[in-house]
Symmetry: D3
Subunit: 159 residues, 6 copies
């Protein structure tokens, strides 16, 4: 079974993340959206909320599993039997950063391969950081979120 | 069937190309090493030689097919029933270039998705251009070539 | 009068070029789409065709002028009384290239300032090179061209 | 009226910032140097000091206004009737970062356009971070500061 | 005497750092591995540990000195009579960052020149950050560390 | 003896090239400005002119030698007993290109190390290409050239 891990903190999951997973579905038998559980990090949304967003977003995709983990990502892949990591890349700066990590994961994970898709042009400026800034600014982030997440959050942004 | 096209002029095929194909094999049912046949371009090796190098290199891989084509790459993918293009990326400059083409191919190819692998660190400086320069300089390019290609060419570089 | 020069070979003018000019219109009193006439270069479309494409595209914009020139771009700006050059940037690689030229033009043009707009995300993969490749491949490049240019060229691509 | 917002924390305003504003003056009727007031951020200089530095620097420019704001930048532009954001770019890494934000602001701000100037070569290594490091190191940062700011701060750095 | 300063926090020193110093030895009469002592920063290893790692690593190199400093790096170079700073660069993003600092150090240090070596391809994904992550994940970071540092730390990672 | 090779076609030598060599002089006992003699390439200035420009520029530097070569650069270094290549880097795009070549030369040249200096900010937009464009445009390129080269060429650009 071809399993890919799409790891992150997804704080929150964006339309960009959703698009990468959906475009990668034909490549894999299973994609695990995996929340790295880092207790020393401050998150904007709780783990429960972030998991819920992922469940809502991929409710129609039996191939997508949601999970959490607390070890090195490459070891988590090995434990899961996942031979692939999935990453989206927006621009050159992203690549330089992701390339370093991917080289490392191949070494630590004894062959865990990172598969990169480029972010679709129309999503290339979306990031979790930007969604959080918009929410902090009291504005509606709907157009950057997966439809079910936007629906779920909308009541909070309409006064 | 999951088919990926690895398109290029492969003038000649390098160890870097070989590594990308071999690392991508677990992802696909078939990888087509496809030589874009551009009659207006000057090649260092003839099409026959370049095809032969690919056949030698992937003789042990029944999943790998060798082919030539003369149309837009995205249309060739569609004709073949290939939903994926495969590309290796060495650095940030490569990404900016490849990203543009991949966005285009997704549009023209009606969803043809480009799958990027990063070049293995130890191959990150190998390119066909560099191999040609070494050969023009009268030196032995063996360490940059797939083993069977190096064996085939070696007699020409030992005096 | 605030005049900007948008210089290039526009072989052919694309939707990306059109978008940069239209988005820059509120900044300037006049934008001159200026064709650098380089007799040693081989063009795909003739100068007449390329000028005609620009005239069709900006027929509704009295602020846009079409012109040709044969000197250094910075000097052409000075002769015209244009204090600004206009450039679109798609990615990091574009910036490194354009930055060098802009620093130079400021020096040679005695203060000619280059104003950069970023390419709209949805046009970030369009270039004249790509349009020419599509045409050479016998396909219809309409979606990458300004509407009147697409209309003009369409008869040639429908058999 | 053509209004541009030059937003930042300017902690402190540098010669690089000053140069971008002065070079952009011929483009706009008004440039608003706007201090994003983020109460959760720690600043080196107080808001009062930072505003004072801007007032000193642009005392000779009636076109330049100094302001503070607490909302999303794109919304602040709309409230002000400013159709443009002004940004300086030093290098490729800057562009990748700024491009993302500019795409977003165009969307949120319903057409707010970001105008990029390249940093003048001789200022390309100046940043507020670097000025703060120099001050923390007990050295005189005068050559990186607008002349009136350097004059104002100099007594503190001469023993 | 040609002295170069290789400054950093080396938290911890990696095989990448070691390689840069060893490859630079033929260039200089002395290389000073200099620990910037920043009391406001949180380190993973204590200063004593970090210094000890450097001493272990370069025990066989009489040309290498280990030191700490608390002032601006360029001024430390001047005080030491060092005309050179030594830096390793892994990728384009590193260069944009390091270039800015090097331009500044040349100015503040009145001619202190930064000499860049590229990171060897096989070390291009190693960084202190990554080593710390591996240790936090409870794994053995030996293959990213200088041999004597790996030997020293190994007992802590074998249960 | 520490010998560095500064290789190129120098068509023509610019102020940027001169600056890199002069700033590198304290590092080496000898710097060889080496003209790669590529008979299939079209040059703007003849080899004689290009050599003469280098001799004029470095007439005051007994440490600088001028030479030509026709083999792979790394092998030329070995034949000369030069352990170092010297390169100037202007920006991120330059680094990605030069890094690849330097990794290769270290391998082919059995340890030939490439030493990179960053281009001084005020020269970061100068290149031989730009000088040739200025000359083709009938303008005086003096400010981009070493003083003696500018003096030598000036009569040709004053009418």
């Amino acid at each position: 079974m071809k399993i890919a891990v799409f790891a992150g903190s997804f704080d929150p999951l964006t339309k960009g993340h959703e698009d990468i997973v959906r475009r990668a579905l034909p490549l894999f038998d299973q994609i695990v959206v995996a929340f790295g559980n880092n207790s020393s990090k401050n998150y904007f949304f709780t783990l429960e909320e972030r998991l819920h967003f992922a469940q809502l977003t991929f409710a129609d995709c039996p191939q997508v599993k949601i999970d959490t983990y607390q070890m090195l990502t490459a070891l988590y892949c090995q434990q899961l039997g996942a031979k692939f990591l999935l990453r989206g890349i927006r621009n050159a700066a992203d690549f330089d950063y992701e390339n370093t990590i991917a080289q490392l994961n191949r070494l630590i994970g004894e062959g865990v391969e990172t598969v990169f898709l480029n972010t679709a042009a129309q999503h290339s400026y979306i990031s979790s950081t930007i969604v959080r800034e918009i929410i902090k600014g009291g504005e509606d982030p709907s157009k950057f979120l997966p439809a079910p997440v936007a629906d779920y959050l909308r009541p909070k942004f309409t006064k």
